[in-house]
């Protein structure tokens, strides 16, 4: 077990290095650099730019150096916990992300809970009552949830809520709390606002989750041990809870790998549309303005989350499901 974990962690290092290289290259692919998009943006608004100041900034930010030097500097910095400098915000990347991370995690966790709370009972119902009216009706709803793009749902809800209730959906709390410390009142305000993004972000995920629960459970329900259990007179509820449902849960655990990064990044597009103070819009803006260290470090962080998440879900699966063996895959 220990050597397995050790080996897995060792493999993570070249993986992350490869990812960092790809991230850096892709961010550098579009023509120009941060300062050029900065100039272009100012000029589009009719503002003038002092070429001398730009030259100073280019040197100051190190953008005049060759690309490999910039890369090495960035990677070396990350090992020391220095994620580089955000040009857009004029401060270290770690300080930029700070407060947003907490809000993003709150939104994401609530969304995940919402998704599970809705999807799990429905999925179980659909599987046990396959091809019934209830199954068809809920499946239809589920497909609608997948089919409607999140951003559109967000726009429609924002419009309706504004016209009907006069509320502004943009943001996560009443404006007077935005710059205040975290008090009980502020949390209350947060939870009064959070349900809209949660519903919008959650619908797509819920629908997908329903399908997964249904499919996994149906697989198990066909198996012989279920038939045997039923033949021996186990009550249907107990049989379901005790055996097939537990096995059907495996995919929940293997989902952790993709869950971790999602919790950190939030749903980018929806967050932009709803103008949530989460990390998603920040990442998008950083990519658009070629604020490369902010975007790069953030993507790196997400990559780390994926790698760690996959490891955790593998270990958890092994611990929870006695059928899974660690040695099998490694020995080959």
């Amino acid at each position: 077990m220990f050597s397995y974990v050790f080996r897995r962690i060792l493999v993570m290092i070249p993986t992350l290095v490869a990812i960092s290289l790809i991230i850096f290259l892709i961010i550098q692919l579009p023509p120009g650099d941060y300062l050029e998009s900065y100039i272009a943006e100012l000029q589009a608004q009719g503002e003038s730019v002092d070429p001398q100041k730009i030259a100073f900034l280019r040197e100051h930010y190190g953008l005049d150096r060759p690309m490999w030097q910039q890369y090495v500097q960035w990677v070396a910095g990350m090992f020391r916990g220095d994620f580089g400098y955000s040009f857009e915000f004029n401060m270290p990347v770690s300080e930029v992300i700070g407060d947003r991370l907490l809000l993003t995690m709150v939104v994401s966790f609530v969304t995940v809970l919402f998704t599970w709370a809705i999807a799990f009972p429905i999925g179980v119902y659909s599987a046990t009552h396959q091809y019934s009216w209830g199954d068809y009706g809920l499946t239809l709803l589920g497909f609608l949830g997948i089919a409607i793009p999140n951003f559109m749902l967000a726009l429609v809800m924002m419009y309706l809520a504004n016209v009907w209730f006069g509320t502004s959906i943009g943001g996560l709390m009443d404006p007077e709390f935005i710059d205040k410390p975290w008090t009980w009142e502020k949390w209350k305000s947060l939870f009064a606002h959070i349900w809209i993004p949660v519903i919008v972000i959650g619908t797509g995920g819920t629908a997908g989750m329903i399908r997964k629960v249904r499919a996994n459970l149906l697989d198990e329900l066909q198996k012989q041990y279920v038939v045997t259990g039923r033949a021996k007179g186990l009550p249907p509820g107990k049989l379901l809870r005790k055996y097939p449902m537990r096995l059907a849960l495996n995919f929940f655990i293997s989902d952790i790998g993709s869950l971790l990064p999602a919790v950190i990044s939030g749903a980018e597009i929806t967050a932009v549309v709803l103008s949530l103070p989460t990390t998603g819009p920040m990442l998008l803006a950083a990519l658009k303005s070629q604020d490369m260290y902010l975007a790069g470090s953030f993507l790196m962080f997400l990559a780390l989350m994926i790698v760690v998440g996959v490891l955790i879900s593998d270990l958890a699966l092994a611990a929870l499901d006695p059928r899974i063996r660690l040695e099998g895959g490694v020995a080959r």
């Binding site: 272009a40 947003r100 404006p175 935005i178």
Partner: protein, 639 residues
Amino acid sequence: MKYGFRSGVVLGLCAWLALVAVPATAALDEPPMLVEAVKEGKLPPMAARLPAKPLVVPFDGKARVPGKYGGDLRMLMAKDRDIRMMVVYGYARLVGYNEKLEFVPDLLESFENVGDRDFTFRLRPGHRWSDGAPFTSEDFRYYWEDIANNKALSPLGLPNVLLVNGKGPRVTFPDPLTVRYTWDEPNPLFLPALAGPSPLFIYRPAHYLKQFHARHIGEDKAKALATEKKARNWAGLHHKKDEQYRFDNPDLPTLEPWVNLTAPPATRFVFHRNPYFHRVDTAGRQLPYIDRVLIGIADEKLVPAKTGAGEVDLQARYLRFDDYTFLKKNEKRSGFDVRLWETVKGSQIALYPNLNTQDPAWRTLMRDVRFRRALSLAMNRHEINQVVFFGLAKPSNNTVLPASPLFEPEFRTAWARFDVKAANALLDEIGLTRRNADGVRLLPDGRPLEVVIDTAGESTEETDVLELIRDGWRQAGIALFSRPSQREIFRKRVFSGQSMMSVWQGLNNGLATADMSPEELAPVKQEQLQWPLWGNHVESHGKGGQPPDLPEAKELLALYEAWQKAPDSAERARIWRRMLAIHAEQQFTLGTVTGNPQPVVVSRALRNVPPKALYNWDPGAYFGIHRPDTFWLDAAPRS
């Protein structure tokens, strides 16, 4: 939000009632927001906070009426970095433009200008920074000696505006309230730079910045401080703290009407009134009237929707003419007025034939003035105006507006009529007489005359206009295709000559006066899309690009150089007119319409915002020239 606003209004109302009930006394005049602090002794009373001679803002009683204190002004911006607009809107400058575009002292008590060479500035006695420290010539000295002439902070030397023929001014500080700048030769760009929306700051809050400067605290301590704050070196730290224009350091004292209290990143920025602001109304009450400015950050594309929902009190940025009908529909529901202000771009949308395009056949054609004239004649500007701008703009070449003293009607109309016959005649004269089966003319080498226009792909307005131009050109046997890309790629393509024609805005300053720089008319910058290589050549002092080789372009460059050395305004005006005439005759850029309206959303409670005005960057500083410190919120209900 609404609650905060109402309580502000109620406070303002109380103050107003008090004023009406009791004859004004110094104590009662205090802005309600500051009363508490003054009572507790944290702030001196108003009389002690104001300079000995404050700037009295004229109130003519019609468009601008004395108001009352209090309230929050809500605005929206798209990015944290946009809070610099508060420096633009605040518009506290040493010397600023008034509404007639004349230079008037603002922060300064007076200034003296001898032949554009010798400038003497007099400060207001008792003028203070927003933290209460005195504003004196020491702040100018700090900039001049410790920043502009400091190798670590300004490795590239003085800003270009301060250099005349490569030589900087002599700066002296005879006493704490006097500063003098002297050049050997005239520097006509100095005052415009000080009065600009993004001004040249030749002063700094020295008392605050000294704590980061190696000369004042010693190299070792500065280094330690930089390491502690995770800056690359002390210069980097100083640079970061010293952002008067970015306005992102809440600790940095300022002279603007509102002081930023929020450090980015944030989704809402709060600005409080500057208790030491130097302007007063005619009753002697300190401005600004409005206590707080709240700036929400929302996605650029969401700004019109949020504005329509009534989430702002004053908004023009990120609203475009396309949004007008939507905003108008929401006027009643959300309790605001949509006003149409005039923009002063030389042309709302202009075409830039690239004289430096790589393809030799096209380059020859683009450089042929007859071809450019034919293109212009085949554009139906009247139709563009009617279809895209509801007839609210004016068909025009890309030139100055009638409001500019340099305007002449020919600049606007030369080669700008819609005359397909004349256009066809010109094209035949060039020798482009062969046509293909579709009726498109052929180049001498047999390729069809298909003009591909690069667009930055940002506005549907552009594509709509191109669609209309396509119809006109078609009648002249020219095919038009547009090639949308993304802003940086667009610029790269134009700069390298890969693009043969591009579409962008026209001249930025359609309100030019003789004393403003005519650099937009001469090939001096790479960003000029009609001759990027020539511009690059001049900008890089001959290191890049190509020297201009068209006689008219050379003449423009020579005229620009002559303008810089011109002894007086009359001579400068003569040069300006000559340059404008060359542009009108040569059609280096093809204008469409001008003076198209900018929607400005103004809450019904907000007073003193002019109903009709100019909305412009420089000169104008958008709202700045209209003095937002005199805007005030009425107690009248919003709807």
